[in-house]
Amino acid sequence: MGVEQKLGDMGVVTTRLEDVINWSRTGAMWPMLFGLACCAIEMMSAQAANYDMSRFGMELMRASPRQSDLMIVAGRVSRKMAPVVRRLYDQMPEPKWVIAMGDCASCGGVFNNYAVVQGVDEVVPVDVYVAGCPPRPEALIDGVVTLHKKVRTEKLKDWA
């Protein structure tokens, strides 16, 4: 009979601070409304009744960057829009994560020309890439779960 079993009966759990903080960060990660093009419609479908994203803590989508943690770049980023994306990213408070949803945000997609930025990682640092044109809502939820797994393994000093 170890210390953990005895303490558990009295309502005390021992763990590391890092694990608790990472777990709470994944519990209610609020995405910022940043749908640009076709992938935004699949993101809206993922938020609606059939593939409910509020099961994963993303109950609402905040319009203001100051109140959100996660930026899902859904859609193609044109050259005119790139500085706007960077400014919105800078306005988000830390800790913040970015999911590049869709082919256009990951690598430029079908469009390899003068007007589209070839991958939004030229503009903001990306944590998870979700492939598809547009990715199914289930693929987006898979990307979100992957991000949660990544956040669980983060170190506190990354965000210090």
């Binding site: 390899n112 007007a115 030229e122 503009v123 903001v124």
Partner: protein
């Protein structure tokens, strides 16, 4: 689509008619452009301008650009095509946004992407590209901007010059 409309225009404005795939197009010179559009609006009764766009035939061709217009008449159940050649040296033509109000944004798009200047337009600025963009993208001598895809055989080469963003820009 009715032949009599094209006939009246040919007599009045000395243009030609092209016949292709079951539809006719009237070609008019740039000097008669404004007068013929006024005639189409007031006399022939075409109330709606469907589209105004341009085609670039290359640096060598003369005239370099053709403007293409399409009109709809709801009351007369009819459509009408118009083509206007515009020369490539200092391309400019009169604007028709006093007659058809929606021509304004179409002309702005043609100015932005081709460089054709519209005189006496109520508002001529760039619409699709950023305001300080240099060049007119849809011209034939403007490059597509194709970026080489990164495969395994050229992975390191492209990794060297592809810009990646950092979290905090100092």
């Amino acid at each position: 689509m009715s032949a009599s409309n094209y006939q009246t225009l040919v007599e009045k404005f000395k243009g030609t008619v092209i016949d292709f795939a079951g539809e006719q197009t009237f070609v008019v010179s740039p000097d008669d452009y404004l007068a013929s559009v006024e005639f189409i609006h007031s006399e022939l009764g075409f109330e709606m301008l469907a589209t105004l766009t341009a085609i670039d035939y290359g640096v060598q061709a003369e005239p370099r650009y053709h403007l293409f217009l399409r009109f709809n008449s709801i009351a007369g159940h009819d459509t009408f095509n118009l083509r206007v050649p515009v020369s490539g040296h200092n391309p400019k033509i009169h604007s028709i946004d006093k007659i058809y109000r929606n021509a304004n944004w179409h002309e702005r798009e043609v100015y932005d992407l081709f460089g054709v200047h519209f005189e006496e337009s109520s508002d001529l600025r760039r619409i699709m590209m950023p305001f300080d963009w240099k060049g007119h993208p849809l011209r034939k001598d403007y490059p597509l901007g194709y970026e080489e895809p990164q495969f395994t055989f050229n992975f390191d080469e492209i990794e060297g010059h592809k810009p990646y963003a950092v979290r905090r820009e100092e």
